[in-house]
């Protein structure tokens, strides 16, 4: 048996999916978290049930990637029943998609989620009328409390009937449906989609277009607008029958402060700066503890064993890799993901996007770009994935460039571990200043030269809610474990490889060759080039490698402040890491990936060289 979950963004669909399957799927309170199909299995009465979590969408008749994906999925009829999840607090709008799904004629179950929030807002939900009208089972749930979630699978298993609902359309549309049906033998839904330009039969589309043009010239509204208006009006009638409003308890409207320029924009900057500062300060403290612990309890006892030199070199490399990996993962990555998860789940990100819309227009994107750019402070990989949120290729290209320049948590480690520790906290913030200035300049430039259409922002402001600590921790943990899975093997292999090269003296030869160039251009000794190259594997490895090659963790004793500063700036700007390059290839193609790579390398070397020659 296979069931598919369909619903608007942020209706708690992923949370329900999680509870049904027990998988660690991400749950977010901003549109567009689930970009690919999430599949999970669960066992019910000794039968295996597969559940597919489809991306959150507003309509089955749109042109975005997600809408197309869901439409095609439903077209293939691979699912035994559709579970439509709707937000009970925004029922009327959610019913619009529900009606579209009902028209597909697949067996379905309706889940009205968030009834707990609805009750708090003084909404009384009566599933009766909806059940009668649709002729399918309607379940009231509160996913955040886990209430009634256990009824979903049993209901889906017995759901064999499609909904028999027929939405009354305008008589011109009804006439068009009849004539298209007669001419081409298509279903009601097929005719409706053809009138809006969706389908694969060219003759049908041609005929439907002629009729649609005719309707448009009569009504002064497009066929799509009339169809949508009819559906919306029908949804309103159902919502009026289903929801009874009582006087809502008075509540403070946080939006009155969050979306006004004052104090909204200072709050936005405060939140971003506070987030970075918190990760910086607390992260550095925790990292020190972890590194110390490794030093005292693992490295020193291991060296004291007095093993053969080759074994000792490999063993040391492994311990150093673990030390670097865990020393970064827990203090920086985990902390950052906890904060990002809180921001996402609270719904604040959509407010940030709204406030930043105008600023983002200046650099060629719209407010939605705030989400990938903020995510990028944690890790560029999920940030690049969320670039899909932007509608045009033009915006995606610009966003990809800028996202790869944002200092991720790994680069924060470099800035915190090298600059803040050995040069000073003010210098550390100046690195951020340089990078942000470069991002803005790059954005201004790209927005002028990148070809393509401009789209504006149309974004639902999701309800503000208090993030659930358990969900936040689970989500941050899921992201951290993903990080560990990608990072740790690379770190271990890279570290051992490096240790071996060092052991057999290969590194010394390489360094001798590049030393004149690095000295001349950046004023850095040859071994820093090796560190930079290993930084491509994972950015924080540049730091670790530098420590290994310099032969001491106290970098201040072997390199001058200027050298450390230049090294950090180059590392931060220089080429995205391997994982980022991989997702870039998938999201924007090889040409743009190559352009981004070349641009960041040249930028890193240029800015590093400039700083060296200006300050030396």
């Amino acid at each position: 048996m296979r069931f598919a979950l369909v619903g608007n963004p942020t209706v708690g669909k992923s949370l329900i999916f999680n509870q049904l399957t027990g998988l660690g799927v991400e749950v977010s309170n901003y549109p567009g978290t689930t970009v690919e199909l999430q599949r999970g299995n669960t066992c019910f009465e000794r039968e295996i049930v597969e559940i597919v979590d489809l991306p959150g969408i507003y309509s089955l008749e749109g042109e975005s990637d997600e809408e197309t994906l869901v439409r095609q999925y439903l077209d293939r009829q691979e699912t035994d029943a559709v579970i439509v999840v709707a937000n009970a607090t925004r029922l009327e709008r959610n019913l619009y998609l529900l009606l579209q799904v009902a028209e597909y004629g697949l067996p379905m179950v309706v889940v009205l989620n968030m009834v707990d929030d609805a009750a708090k807002q003084g909404l009384e939900i009566d599933p009766g009328p909806l059940r009668d009208l649709l002729g399918v089972d309607v379940i009231l749930t509160a996913a955040s409390l886990g209430k009634n979630i256990d009824q979903i699978i049993p209901a889906a298993l017995v759901a064999t009937r499609p909904s028999e609902i027929e939405i009354p359309y305008d008589h011109h549309i009804e006439a068009a449906i009849r004539s298209l049906g007669k001419m081409f033998g298509v279903s009601r839904r097929g005719s409706l989609q053809a009138l809006q330009g969706f389908g694969d039969d060219p003759d049908l589309l041609e005929a439907a277009r002629t009729i649609a043009d005719e309707i448009e010239s009569r009504h002064r509204m497009t066929a799509a607008q009339i169809i949508a208006a009819n559906r919306h009006n029908f949804a309103r009638e159902i919502a009026d029958l289903t929801v009874r409003k009582e006087a809502p308890p008075p509540r403070t409207d946080l939006d009155s402060i969050l979306t006004r320029p004052i104090p909204g924009i200072p709050i936005l900057f405060g939140v971003l700066a506070g987030m970075l500062l918190f990760v910086f300060v607390v992260g550095s403290y925790l990292e020190e503890l972890i590194v110390e612990a490794f030093e005292i309890f693992m490295l020193q006892p291991f060296v004291a064993l007095g093993l053969p030199p080759l074994v000792e070199a490999i063993g040391t490399a492994i311990i150093l890799a673990l030390q670097a990996g865990l020393g970064i993962a827990f203090p920086f990555v985990f902390l950052f993901y906890i904060i990002i998860s809180i921001l996402e789940d609270s719904g604040y990100m959509t407010r940030a996007a709204f406030l930043a819309d105008n600023a983002m227009h200046q650099i060629g994107m719209h407010g939605g770009a705030v989400i990938p750019l903020t995510l990028a402070f944690g890790c560029n990989v999920p940030a690049i994935m969320s670039v899909r949120l932007l509608r045009s290729r033009r915006e995606r290209i610009i966003a990809s460039f800028l996202v790869t320049m944002v200092p991720c948590s790994a680069r924060t480690v470099i800035i915190a571990g090298i600059v803040a520790t050995f040069v000073g906290i003010g210098a550390a913030f100046s690195v951020y200043g340089i990078v942000l200035a470069l991002i803005i300049v790059t954005g201004l430039f790209l927005s002028r030269v990148t070809p393509g259409e401009r789209f504006g922002m149309i974004m639902e402001m999701v309800a503000l809610r208090r993030p659930d600590p358990k969900l936040v921790a689970r989500k941050a943990w899921a992201r951290l474990s993903e990080f560990l899975f990608i990072a740790m093997p690379l770190l271990l292999v890279g570290s051992v490889f490096l240790g071996l090269l060092e052991f057999f003296g290969v590194m010394a030869i390489f360094e001798q060759i590049v030393e004149p160039y690095t000295m001349g251009l950046l004023g850095l000794p040859g071994y820093t080039a090796t560190a930079l190259i290993f930084g491509i594997l994972r950015k924080e490895m540049a730091f670790e490698t530098l420590a290994i090659l310099a032969g001491t963790a106290d970098l201040g004793s072997v390199l001058t402040s200027l050298q450390l500063y230049v090294f950090s700036v180059v590392t931060v700007l220089f080429i995205p890491c391997l994982a980022t390059i991989t997702v870039l290839l998938r999201e924007v193609g090889s040409r743009i990936t190559l352009a981004i790579t070349i641009y960041t390398i040249s930028l890193g070397l240029l800015i590093g060289g400039l700083i060296y020659h200006l300050l030396a």
Partner: protein, 212 residues
């Protein structure tokens, strides 16, 4: 099909009688068409014979239902053409009136329908009150509204590109409330109980009229 002269007569009676509500005298008709009373008498008696006009006591004429249909259609064509000539092509009122009088008889219904939906109005408002015509940049959009206003959506320009608006419930006829308007013109509107943040360039394509 009537000749253009007859159509002009019906249109003139239609205009004089304020959409056929009252009756018109022979003198009024002759004046409106700038012709001799004698000529007017010949033509009107033909139109009475064909059943487009009828006598009313007091030496006056009135449009029959049949006449009114033709007259109002011609008058509408005139209005749409005049609107197009003055508002879009920028031709002087007087000249546009003459041209419209000539064009109104030959133009097909389909062209008028398309022109009318392109202009998004059924002809021009009386001179001096441009605001009534909802065409072009004069139209009131979401950007002209203030925070707290409740307005009805009249039209959405470029509907295909702005499909997401449609799916979120912003379509002609829907009532929306402006929840927030930033100095840089980004707006938040509340529609169907949900707040939607919209960029200025999209807000400007949402034409609105104030709510009763």
């Amino acid at each position: 099909m009537l000749s253009s002269t007859f159509e002009d007569y019906l249109e003139a009676v239609f205009m004089i009688t304020e959409n056929g509500e009252r009756s018109a005298t022979l003198q009024e008709i002759a004046d409106a068409l700038d012709s001799e009373v004698a000529d007017a008498e010949v033509t009107t008696s033909f139109l009475i014979g064909e059943g487009y006009l009828e006598w009313v006591p007091g030496d006056a004429f009135r449009l029959t239902a049949k006449g009114k249909t033709i007259a109002s259609e011609v008058a509408r064509k005139h209005r749409v053409l005049q609107c197009f000539l003055t508002e879009v092509l920028g031709i002087e009122e007087e000249a546009a009136n003459r041209e419209a009088c000539a064009l109104e008889h030959d133009i097909s219904d389909e062209i008028i329908d398309r022109l009318s939906s392109y202009l998004d109005c059924d002809g021009c408002p009386p001179p001096g009150r441009r605001a009534g015509c909802r065409w072009g940049q004069d139209a009131c959009t979401l950007l002209d509204c203030e925070e707290g206003d409740t307005v009805r959506v009249a039209a959405v320009r470029r509907p295909r590109r702005n499909r997401r608006l449609l799916d979120l419930g912003i379509f002609p006829g829907e009532i929306v409330e402006i929840r927030r308007k930033l100095p840089n013109h980004s707006v938040v509107v509340r529609v169907k109980g949900c707040d939607i943040g919209i960029s200025p360039e999209i807000a400007t394509s949402i034409v609105v009229e104030s709510c009763p």
